[in-house]
């Protein structure tokens, strides 16, 4: 039932270019799709596994530079660029995660934050490769079988297909026994170990998959922008992903998907005042945390639990 509704929604979202020809609206749509994927990937490592990773921003940037450089410097095409962005980030995440995940959750947060800052430095200072603050501009439109995805309306289909594929994969993963084990690790790691499960491979896999998907998303996104420069590592992106996850409800797959679509539109709505945009964004976040500390999905769940508790207490006592 829920799956049928999701399928219908997916098709409706895919039909947007047939409903509007406004490049502005379609552009917001592309951002919403890609941000939702990046947020869902953050949800895997933070919401499900309980590890707050700021490295997502670094993966997003590495992905953006990888796909751009694949096309502009190494003679590949867009599709290879996105695949390489995913693969490279999976490997980087393994290298960063293997030592870091042996420390505690707090150290993990700090190391991932440092990693993101380090990537920013590299993007700015390794001028031979990244062209520094100038960035790599004029990224060509992707093409396949002689068809050029040259307009925002056409690029929208790439973003749509990409996000549907990634979200479907994440859905299967999150609802599997692996997803359930990640939740168990978040809730009670010693118990997981006492039940014969080693948490390390699960955490490492979640981190690496999350990195690969975030990197691929970044790789698609820079071709929407047409340029990659150090601004791709602006903290604004990390903040957006995090807010989507927190407001949607960390650990809820659908909560984060719905909030991803809804909240990606928000900065656009707030665009009228560039100066106050972040302030308003912050106020909305704080207000939401006051009303629903576990996100929309968490809030709905609490209500459901309260009903269940009431019905169990009202039932015949054994």
């Amino acid at each position: 039932m829920r799956l049928a509704a999701a399928l219908l929604a997916a098709l409706l979202v895919g039909a947007l270019p047939m409903l509007t020809s406004s490049n502005y609206l379609l552009g917001v749509g592309v951002s919403a799709l890609i941000f939702t994927v990046a947020a869902a990937a953050l949800n895997l490592i933070y919401g499900f596994t309980g590890l707050l990773s700021f490295a997502q921003l670094g993966f997003w940037g590495i992905g953006g530079y990888t796909s751009a450089l694949t096309v502009m410097k190494f003679g590949g095409n867009f599709w290879w660029g996105v695949v390489l962005a995913g693969l490279l980030n999976a490997v980087v995440a393994l290298a960063v995660g293997y030592p870091t995940l042996r420390t505690n959750r707090h150290a993990f947060v700090i190391v991932t934050l440092t990693f993101a800052l380090l990537v920013t430095l590299i993007a700015r200072d390794w001028v031979e490769l990244t062209r520094g603050p100038m960035g790599i501009a004029n990224l060509p439109a992707p093409h396949a079988f002689g068809y050029r995805f040259g307009t925002t309306g056409r690029f929208y289909y790439i973003a749509w297909a990409f996000s549907m594929l990634m979200l479907a994969f994440l859905y299967v993963l999150c609802t599997s026994r692996i997803g359930r084990t990640l939740i168990a690790i978040k809730q009670n790691e010693p118990l997981v170990r006492a039940q014969g499960i080693s948490p390390m491979p699960y955490k490492l896999a979640a981190f690496s998959i999350s990195a690969a998907i975030t990197g691929a998303a970044g790789g698609v996104f820079v071709f929407h922008l047409g340029i990659v420069d150090p601004l791709i590592l602006d903290f604004y992106y990390m903040q957006t992903f995090l807010i989507i996850v927190i407001i949607g409800g960390a650990g809820s797959f659908w909560g984060v998907v719905v909030s991803g679509v809804a909240l990606s539109a928000l900065p656009e709505v707030l665009r009228f005042s560039a100066d106050f945009r972040m302030v308003i964004y912050g106020v909305i976040l704080v207000a939401a945390m006051f009303v629903m500390p576990t996100g929309v999905a968490g809030w709905l769940r609490e209500r459901q639990l309260a009903r269940m508790r009431a019905s169990l207490e009202a039932g015949p006592l054994k």
């Binding site: 026994r177 359930r180 009670n188 010693p190 006492a194 014969g196 639990l305 169990l312």
Partner: protein
């Protein structure tokens, strides 16, 4: 035939305090063995070291003939030793069904690929886990809460869920850390009966507990620890009659101690 679990000369010190100072004892297959002692006598440290949650300074732990000394907790669990925790641990935001299913997940042979392809192996594993968890949830009397999140249960009920989870994969030995502390007194008898029934079906238990009556009713053999050393070992009746034990436990004369012991058990 050697014992199922053999502990020899366990030693563990924290910053100079000897939590375990050369403790040795065996747990026979098919037995219920009790481990008692005053607070700080080293019971919890012993359990943590046996189950791999803490590292021994010295000594050997042998489970069913294989040396598991110094192995990681998850390796020891896979070798067939399941434990519960003094401060109850359950997955608060998962249903009882999932709480129990996860406990046996590592022991079936279905991989993630089996799950993705929904192979026969996977379906059989899920069915087996389901029938085992229904059986156990009935044993602990919480059928009504099977689909409910464990977080809504009382502390005592969670202890029972933790017990059921430890039993899920039919381990070689179950180590229980204070299984009835905080459990409703009216339910303690039921837990006792359930453990006896499981034991008669072949399950081996090592139980740490403060409730002396519970231990003496249930255990075939009782080990008493004091200040990291084994003070006494014997049947429940022998331990009961041992004046050294009474003194260590209560620091007083047998007459007063016996009265206090009755009080503690009530």
């Amino acid at each position: 035939m050697s014992a199922l679990l053999q502990l020899s000369d366990l030693r563990k010190a924290y910053a100079g305090v000897h939590a375990l100072d050369g403790v040795s004892f065996d747990v026979e297959a098919g037995s219920i063995t009790g481990l008692i002692g005053p607070n700080g006598s080293g019971k919890s440290t012993a359990i943590d070291c046996i189950s791999g949650f803490q590292r021994l300074d010295a000594g050997r732990v042998v489970l069913a003939g294989s040396d598991i000394t110094g192995r990681s907790a998850h390796v020891i669990a896979r070798a067939g030793l399941m434990r519960t925790f003094q401060t109850v641990r359950v997955y608060e935001r998962l249903s009882l069904r999932d709480n129990l299913a996860i406990a046996t997940q590592q022991f079936d042979r279905a991989s993630w690929l089996d799950e993705f392809l929904r192979t026969r192996k996977y379906r059989d594993a899920v069915d087996a886990a389901e029938s085992r968890s229904r059986e156990l949830v009935e044993l602990i009397g919480l059928q009504r809460y099977y689909e409910a999140e464990a977080g809504i249960l009382s502390y005592g009920q969670k202890k029972l869920v933790a017990l059921a989870a430890a039993l899920m994969p039919r381990p070689k030995i179950v180590v229980l850390d204070e299984p009835v502390a905080g459990v409703n007194p009216s339910r303690i008898r039921e837990v006792e009966a359930a453990l006896r029934q499981l034991n008669q079906a072949g399950e081996t238990f090592l139980i740490v507990e403060h409730n002396v009556e519970f231990i003496t009713n249930l255990c075939h053999r009782v080990i008493v620890l004091e200040q990291g050393r084994k003070l006494a070992e014997g049947t429940a009746a022998e331990i009961h009659a041992d004046s050294r034990v009474l003194e260590a436990y209560l620091g007083t004369t047998p007459e007063i101690a016996a009265a206090e012991m009755r009080g503690a058990a009530a």
